[in-house]
Amino acid sequence: MRAEGATLGTPAGGHAAAHHEHRDDIGSKTGMWLFLFTELLLFGGLFIVYAVYRHKFGAEFHEAAHELNKVMGVTNTFVLLTSSLTMVLSVGALQRARVAESLRWLGATFGLACCFLVIKYFEWSAKHHHGIWPGGEHLHSLPPGEGMFFNLYFMMTGLHGIHVLVGMGVMGAIAARIRSGHVSASRYAALEFTGLYWHLVDLVWIFLLPLFYLTN
C-alpha cells in the first residue's frame, strides 16, 4: 500500500495512511493555546509601552482621555461581551448537534462584531475630523504626552480592530464548514478554537477599556 496520505499530511501525518483516522484534539488545543499566548504577548509588548508612558506622562494621559467618548467605549464593551456569550452558545449548540441553532448564534456573533466595528468607525472618524490621527497635524501640535496617548490609542485599538476583522473572516469560513458538515457535533474543534480566539479578542478589549476610556 502506498503512503500517499503521509505526504499530503493530516495532523500526525504518517498515521493517516496506515489505519483509521487518527486525530489528537488535545494536541490541536495545545497548539491553539500556544497561538493564543503569542497573541497575548504581542499585545503585551504594547501594554509595556503603555505602562511606561503612563508612568512618564500621567497628567497628560488623564487630560487626553477626556477627549475619548466614554459612552461609545462602554457600549462597545457590552457589544463584545455579548458576542462572547453568543459565541459560547454557538459552540454549545453544535456540541448538542443543533446545527441550525449553532449557525444562528454564530451569525449573531458576526453581527455583533460588525456592530463593534461600526461604532469604532464613528469614534475614529470623529477623531480624524479633529485632526487627531497618527501623523495628523493637530496630533503633532499636542504636548508630547497627549500625542503619545492618542498614538497608543490608535495603535492598540487598531491592532485590536484588525483582530476583530480576522475573527469575522474566520467565523465566515467556519460557518461554511459547519454548513457543509466538515465541522459537526463529532468534530467541533474548529468552532471551539474560533471561540477561543474570539474570547481572547474580547479579553484584550476588557483591558483597553479602563486603560483608555476610564483614565480620568
Binding site: R2, A6, T7, A17, T30, L40, G44, I48, Y53, G147
Partner: protein, 548 residues
C-alpha cells in the same frame, strides 16, 4: 499496530519518493519532518555561506589600518547584513529547524511532528522572510546600515531600507513561532508509550525549553518591529525623543526578545552535547534531571537579564544593579550543565570520534564565551568593554563557538542517520583541528583588542591595534578553510560514503533503533520505552554476546 505497517513506506528510505509526486515537487510539498529538516538545512547553509563571505570581507577591510576596499558606508552595511543573516536566517532557526525537525520525532518514537502542514508552512514563511531580507538590499534607499539591532533613533532616521529589513525580521519571527508551537505540542502529545517527561532524551529537553522561548518572546519583538515601521511611516513617536518618546524603551523591548533568543540559539546546542557525551563515553549521562531542569531554568532566568545589554545607555542605577545580579544567576544552570558533562566523561570508556571532538570543542569555546560573559555582566567592567571588540569576541565565542559548533557537532553525530552514509572520519578530525585553530586565532585577538580600547563597528583603527587585527584576519582564513574541508567531507559522504549501519556510534536513544536513513514513517514497529534514555546495559550485553 505494527502488523498494519507493511509496504515501501516502512522499508525504503525517506529519501525515495512515495506517491504520485516526484523529484523537486515531492520535496516542496512534503510534510515529512525529515525532508523539511533537510530543506531548512539547504536554505540555511546557502545563507550561512553568504554571511561568512561578508564576514571575510569585514576582516579583510580590518586587516590593515586605513580604508582599503570599502567605504565606511558600505562597511556599515556589511556588518549589518552579516549580523542580520547570521542571527535571523542562520543561528535562530539553526539547530531547532534542521536537527530538531529531523531528530525530535525520531527521539520521541513518533511518526512526525504534531502539525506537519504547519511545519511545511514554517519553511515557506522562512523563505519568504529571507526573500524580503534580500529585497531590502536592492530596492528603496539601499542596504540597511543600522546594525542587526535596528536601534532607535537612528533606525527611524536612516535613509537606507530599514523598514523592509525590519519587516523581514518580523516575518522570520512567525516561522520561528510556528516551529516552537509544533515542538511543544509534539513533546506533550507524541512521546512513545512509557516515555515520561523524565525519560526524554536531553536534546528534546533543550528543544522544549527553546520552543517556549520562541513562542513567548518572539511576539514581543514582532510588535516592536511593527512599531518601528509605524514610526517610520507615520511618526507615532514612541521611540523618538523629538516627540517625547524614549529610544531606550526600544532597547528594552528589543532585548526583552533578543536576550532570551540567545538561549534559543544555545539551548539546543547544549542538548546536542548532552546526547553526544553519553554515547561516546559509553555510559549514562551524569545528573540527567539536573541537566534537563537546568535547560528550563536557563530559559526562565534568560527572561530576566536583558538589561545587561544596556548598562551604558542611561538606565537607572537600581535597574543596572538588579540586571547585573540576575545576569550572574545564568551562570548557575550553565555551570550545572558543564560540570555534569565533565562528570559524564569521568571514568567513561571514551572513544574519540569526530562528534565527540566537536562536542569537546563546544565545551572549550563556550566556556571562554561564558566566562567573558561574566566580564560583560559585571557592571563595572562592562562600562570599560561595552561596545568594544571584546563584546564582539565574546558573542562569537558563545554564538559561533557555542551554537555554531553545536550544530557542526550535531551534523557529524547524526549525518550517518540522516543519509545512511559515513563520512571520512580522518578528514573530519583534520577539519575540526583546523577550525579550532582558526577560530581562536580569529576571535581571541578581538578580546585583547577590546581591552585595549578598539571600538566595535568601526571601519578604521589606530596603528597600535594593527598586530591583533592582522592575526584575526589570518585566523579568519584558517577557520574558513576548516569549514570548507568539513563541508566538502560531509557533502561527499552523501553519495560516496560507506554505508553507516543503523547505529554506528552505539547510541541508546530511539533514533538509533530505526534504519539509516529512516523509512518515511520512521519506525517499522512503534517503539515503547522502559528505561531512561542513556541506558547502555542492553547495548553492552549485546556486544559481550557478540564477542563470545
Amino acid at each position: 499496530m505494527a502488523e498494519s505497517k507493511t509496504g515501501p513506506a516502512w522499508t525504503g528510505s525517506y529519501l525515495q519518493d512515495y506517491g504520485s509526486r516526484r523529484g523537486l515537487l515531492a520535496w516542496l510539498t512534503t510534510t515529512d519532518h525529515k525532508r523539511i529538516g533537510l530543506m531548512y538545512m539547504a536554505a540555511m547553509f546557502a545563507f550561512f555561506t553568504v554571511a561568512v563571505l561578508l564576514g571575510l570581507l569585514i576582516r579583510l577591510e580590518l586587516m590593515n589600518p586605513g580604508m582599503q576596499y570599502v567605504t565606511p558606508r558600505v562597511y556599515n552595511s556589511l556588518f549589518t547584513l552579516h549580523g542580520v543573516i547570521m542571527i535571523f536566517l542562520f543561528i535562530v532557526p539553526g539547530i531547532p529547524a534542521v536537527m530538531g525537525n529531523f531528530i525530535l520525532p525520531l527521539q520521541l518514537g513518533a511518526d512526525d511532528v504534531s502539525f506537519p502542514k504547519l511545519n511545511l508552512a514554517s519553511w515557506y514563511v522562512y523563505i519568504a522572510g529571507a526573500i524580503l531580507a534580500l529585497m531590502s538590499l536592492f530596492v528603496g534607499g539601499g542596504v540597511p546600515d543600522t546594525g542587526w539591532t535596528f536601534y532607535a533613533p537612528y533606525a527611524l532616521r536612516s535613509g537606507s531600507n530599514v523598514s523592509l529589513a525590519v519587516f523581514a525580521a518580523f516575518v522570520l519571527g512567525f516561522s520561528s513561532i510556528m516551529t516552537g508551537m509544533n515542538f511543544i505540542t509534539t513533546i506533550h502529545r507524541l512521546r512513545a508509550p512509557g516515555m515520561g517527561f523524565f525519560r526524554m532524551p536531553l536534546f528534546c529537553w533543550g528543544l522544549y525549553a527553546t520552543s517556549w522561548i520562541q513562542v513567548i518572546a518572539t511576539p514581543v519583538v514582532g510588535i516592536t518591529l511593527l512599531l518601528v515601521i509605524m514610526e517610520r511611516a507615520l511618526g507615532i513617536g514612541f521611540f523618538d525623543p523629538a516627540r517625547g518618546g524614549d529610544p531606550v524603551l526600544y532597547q528594552h523591548l528589543f532585548w526583552i526578545y533578543s536576550h532570551p533568543v540567545v538561549y534559543v540559539m544555545i539551548l539546543p546546542a547544549m542538548g546536542v552535547i548532552s546526547e553526544i557525551l553519553p554515547t561516546f563515553a559509553g555510559r549514562t549521562v551524569f545528573g540527567y534531571k539536573a541537566i534537563a531542569l537546568s535547560s528550563m531554568a536557563i530559559a526562565i532566568v534568560g527572561y530576566m537579564v536583558w538589561g545587561h545589554h544596556m548598562f551604558t545607555v542611561g538606565m537607572s542605577d537600581t535597574a543596572r544593579r538588579v540586571f547585573s545580579i540576575l545576569t550572574f544567576l545564568v551562570a548557575i544552570p550553565t555551570g550545572i550543565k558543564v560540570f555534569n558533562w565533565m562528570a559524564t566523561l569521568y571514568k567513561g570508556s571514551i572513544r574519540i570520534e569526530p562528534p565527540l571532538l566537536w562536542a569537546l570543542g563546544f565545551i572549550f569555546l563556550f566556556s571562554i564565551g561564558g566566562l567573558t560573559g561574566l566580564v560583560n555582566g559585571a557592571l563595572s567592567t562592562d562600562i570599560h568593554v561595552h561596545d568594544t571588540a571584546f563584546v564582539v569576541g565574546h558573542f562569537h565565542y558563545t554564538m559561533f563557538g557555542g551554537a555554531g559548533v553545536g550544530l557542526f557537532a550535531a551534523l557529524h553525530y547524526w549525518w550517518p542517520k540522516v543519509f545512511g552514509r559515513m563520512y571520512n572520519r580522518k578528514v573530519a578530525n583534520w577539519a575540526w583541528g583546523i577550525f579550532m585553530v582558526g577560530f581562536n586565532l580569529l576571535y581571541f585577538p578581538m578580546l585583547v583588542l577590546g581591552i585595549m580600547g578598539m571600538p566595535r563597528r568601526y571601519a578604521d583603527y589606530l596603528p597600535r591595534f594593527h598586530g591583533p587585527e592582522l592575526v584575526s584576519t589570518v585566523g579568519s582564513w584558517v577557520m574558513v578553510s576548516g569549514i570548507i574541508l568539513m563541508a566538502w567531507n560531509l557533502v561527499r559522504a552523501i553519495k560516496r560514503g560507506a554505508p553507516a549501519g543503523d547505529n554506528p556510534w552505539g547510541g541508546t536513544t530511539l533514533e538509533w533503533q530505526t534504519t539509516s536513513p529512516p523509512p518515511q514513517l520512521n519506525f517499522a514497529a512503534s517503539p515503547s520505552v522502559t528505561t531512561g534514555p542513556y541506558d547502555h546495559t542492553a547495548l553492552r550485553a549485546a556486544a559481550a554476546k557478540e564477542a563470545r
